[in-house]
């Protein structure tokens, strides 16, 4: 009788642990994506609402810069808040994600994260952004498909910024902080300029390496001028 009870309890525990593991896989593969799509949509809605208001009255927040062709230095981004939308046609014509300030774990659940100490969008320096390869909506799942010449388009509500990829995907180690330097050495850029760096993890489900692409600012245009060519079909 005793033995039977022990064996039964043990098997019940094993089945329970198995069920929890299956549920966890469902959570990681599926549920984080559902949650992230929801939250990212919310962030984009929030931005668009902010911008639509900004065009009427002069805002003092993120949309503060004038809508002239040459953007003046914008106000510092608020931590954990969205300030731009990124479009990468190569990752899908409908691919667009909010960019938030900071690269904390919580921030990256809501969108792409801007390395706080790097340059601001469109400014001199290296505007660097990190994003999930897998889980939380898989934003950078197709990162290895990026090629030289691909467009990375961003908007901050007043200006469209079109960056063109020059190099990548470049594989490096997680401690290689140099890749987000103002003039990243391994990118091949020689002098200072307006650059963009994207980082994600590699392999897809691992964390042993990072994948990097570098791009330079190719053109800017005010939002009134319509979508940039890279986004037109």
């Amino acid at each position: 009788m005793r033995v039977r009870l022990v064996v039964r309890t043990l098997s019940e525990l094993c089945i329970t642990v198995g069920a929890v593991i299956v549920l966890f896989v469902v959570y990681v593969l599926f549920w984080t994506g559902v949650k992230a799509d929801d939250v990212m949509g919310e962030q984009i809605d929030q931005l668009q609402e902010q911008w639509s208001k900004g065009s009427v009255e002069q805002p003092k927040g993120t949309g503060g810069s004038q809508s002239s062709a040459s953007p003046s230095a914008p106000a510092p981004y608020k931590k954990d808040k969205p300030f731009a939308i990124m479009y990468i046609p190569r990752l899908g014509f409908t691919w667009n994600k909010p960019v938030l300030e900071g690269t904390g774990v919580g921030t990256l659940k809501k969108g792409l994260g801007h390395y706080a100490r790097t340059a601001q969008l469109g400014q001199e320096g290296n505007f660097s952004v990190a994003g999930h390869r897998r889980t939380y909506g898989d934003p950078f799942k197709d990162f290895p498909k990026l090629r030289r010449g691909d467009a990375v388009v961003l908007t901050d509500g007043t200006t469209w910024f079109t960056y063109r990829i020059d190099k990548g995907p470049y594989k490096t180690v997680p401690t290689d902080v140099e890749v987000i330097d103002p003039v990243p050495r391994k990118s091949g850029y020689q002098r200072s300029g307006r650059y963009l760096t994207l980082t994600t993890c590699d392999p897809e489900w691992g964390h042993s390496h990072r994948l990097i692409v570098w791009a330079h600012l190719d053109s800017t245009q005010p939002v009134e001028a319509g979508k940039p060519e890279a986004l037109r079909r």
Partner: protein
């Protein structure tokens, strides 16, 4: 374990079955809402930056 729970639930078989279902759903809710969000960052999928913030 499950037999013990079943024996300690009140009511007839139908009520017990209903209560078990509610309990199971509650467990799944707690797992998805609290336990998994805590456990998930311990896995490597979150390491996408180069300065490890």
């Amino acid at each position: 374990m499950y037999g013990w729970i079943w024996r300690h639930l009140p009511g007839n078989a139908w009520v017990k079955a209903l209560l078990s279902l509610v309990l199971a759903l509650a467990v799944v809710y707690v797992l998805f809402q609290y336990v998994f969000p805590w456990a998930e960052p311990l896995l490597p999928f979150n390491d996408v930056t180069v300065d490890n913030q």
